[in-house]
């Protein structure tokens, strides 16, 4: 079934970010995103992405291009690329998770979530609060209580760093 497709001209899509930058990519690259694929199947070639900012979109297009050219031989190359891709700040990772979720790119979504989970798994609750920008809504008494109840789990060392 591939024979007829190769002769056709490459179809292109235009993606528009939340800050109004436009990017032209090949359809075959874009359809790795389920959200884009659904729009393509409905006949759209211009895809506005009001939830994805340019900064994240550039990274995600890089990712999609790289992964669209996956073959047996460049496995290592892609692994290196992925490793570099997630080597960034927590805020960037959250931005990317948000975008990957909106675009429904599950392999990227899983990779990002796994990365974040790996990076926060040894953190202290205080560090996690800062990383996630969460206010502690326990009263000091409540927190002391839950810590006491949790004494066993709090054994060992916590990582207080924020990177």
């Amino acid at each position: 079934m591939a024979s007829t497709t190769e002769t056709k001209q490459k179809k292109m899509l235009i993606l528009k970010s939340a800050d109004n930058d436009e990017f032209e990519i090949e359809e075959s690259v874009g359809v790795q995103s389920e959200t884009i694929k659904n729009l393509v199947e409905d006949g759209f070639t211009f895809v506005p992405l009001p939830n994805v900012y340019t900064k994240a979109l550039i990274k995600i297009i890089d990712y999609l291009k790289k992964h669209a050219n996956k073959t047996d031989s460049n496995d290592e190359e892609i692994k290196t690329f992925d490793k570099d891709f997630v080597n960034t700040t927590f805020d960037d990772l959250f931005e990317l998770v948000s975008a990957a979720n909106y675009l429904h790119i599950s392999c990227l979504m899983n990779m990002l979530c796994q990365t974040i989970a790996d990076r926060i798994k040894d953190k202290s609750p205080e560090a996690v609060r800062k990383i996630f920008h969460i206010n502690c809504d326990y009263t000091p008494e409540e927190e002391a209580k839950i810590r006491k109840a949790n004494a066993q789990a709090f054994e060992g060392q916590f990582d207080e760093s924020l990177d």
């Binding site: 948000s98 926060i120 502690c136 000091p140």
Partner: protein
């Protein structure tokens, strides 16, 4: 401990709650317990049903309290959550809700690559890729009959010899019974294979399939007819979906309605990338499609091919 006061909880507005929940489900349970003192929300998440069922190894008895309301039927998903390979969500059609069942099937299923093929009334049928054989497991009794197929006409188990390696190991679709044979459709390149339930012989059927398929699912109406639901297009992009009747030469019956197409497409799209599944079961040509979405949410679609679309959330 000084309360953080200057922090704007902007992350909550950027990261939807279900995304955060999904993200946190990647954490080991121990870490998650440690982190429950982070904030009340985290603690609430810990005690939310999805977390308990995901992390609890012994939550399998949830089905027992519904036993008195027989008959209860389960539709098992064909593929468990990628992170929790021994968790099988199941749909209780009596109570119209989802339950989680964690199966202690490891002694029964030697290989972690055993794939759930089909289910019926609490019996699960797995394939064992290494030996190309089936295992039937009774989840309630925790017993299993490897390599046997039960013949309900003569009430006996028959053992079939080794199966030819016709279906590859990535095969997630359950077989469809039609005319004494169990039919399967292979992943690309698509062709239909069947096993004769009397002789246990596999053969490749001579059904001519339409060209330019993007996905293909078999549905049977029980015994008389075999249907194919297909996506048609190229490059893996479905431009339309069609229903075919398979006999000597496949006959085009109808293009499926837009509403049904969209629903089916969402389900299939969700299924392809996340190694999910789409299981169809024919009950008088009523199609049941179940799906686990990207974030672990589940949806069921029930559709009689003649009636309008019904969604069960």
């Amino acid at each position: 401990m000084v309360l953080a006061t200057h922090m704007d909880p902007k992350i909550w507005s950027r990261l939807p709650e279900d995304v955060l929940e999904y993200l946190l489900s990647f954490l080991p349970l121990k870490t998650f317990l440690k982190l429950r003192s982070t904030c009340k929300h985290f603690k609430t998440l810990l005690f939310s049903p999805p977390f308990i069922s995901k992390h609890s190894p012994s939550s399998s008895s949830s089905s027992s309290n519904s036993q008195n309301s027989s008959p209860f039927f389960f539709i098992f998903t064909c593929f468990p959550h990628p992170q929790f390979p021994r968790q099988y969500p199941l749909f209780d059609t009596v109570h119209h809700n989802w339950r989680n069942l964690s199966l202690c099937v490891s002694p029964v299923l030697p290989s972690s690559s055993s794939v759930l093929l089909s289910s019926s009334n609490g019996l699960l049928c797995f394939t064992r890729p290494s030996s190309n054989s089936f295992t039937v497991t009774n989840v309630l009794a925790r017993s299993s009959r490897p390599d046997f197929v039960y013949d309900s006409l003569v009430h006996s188990w028959s053992q079939f010899g080794g199966f030819d390696l016709i279906l590859n190991e990535n095969h997630h679709q359950e077989g469809v019974f039609h005319d004494g044979h169990l039919y399967f459709i292979t992943p690309e390149p698509y062709f239909v294979v069947c096993m004769d339930l009397n002789t246990g012989e596999w053969k490749r059927s001579n059904f001519e399939l339409p060209t330019e398929l993007t996905f293909a699912r078999l549905v049977s109406d029980g015994d008389k007819k075999l249907y194919l639901i297909s996506g048609n297009g190229s490059n893996g992009i479905s431009r339309s979906m069609k229903l075919w009747e398979l006999d000597g030469n496949s006959r085009f019956l109808e293009g499926l309605g837009i509403g049904f197409q969209n629903a089916l497409r969402c389900l299939i799209n969700g299924a392809v990338d996340s190694d999910g599944f789409l299981c169809s079961q024919a009950i008088r040509l009523c199609l049941i499609v179940t799906s686990i979405g990207l974030k672990g949410e589940t949806s069921v679609l029930l559709r009689s091919l003649t009636d309008s679309l019904v969604f069960v959330p």
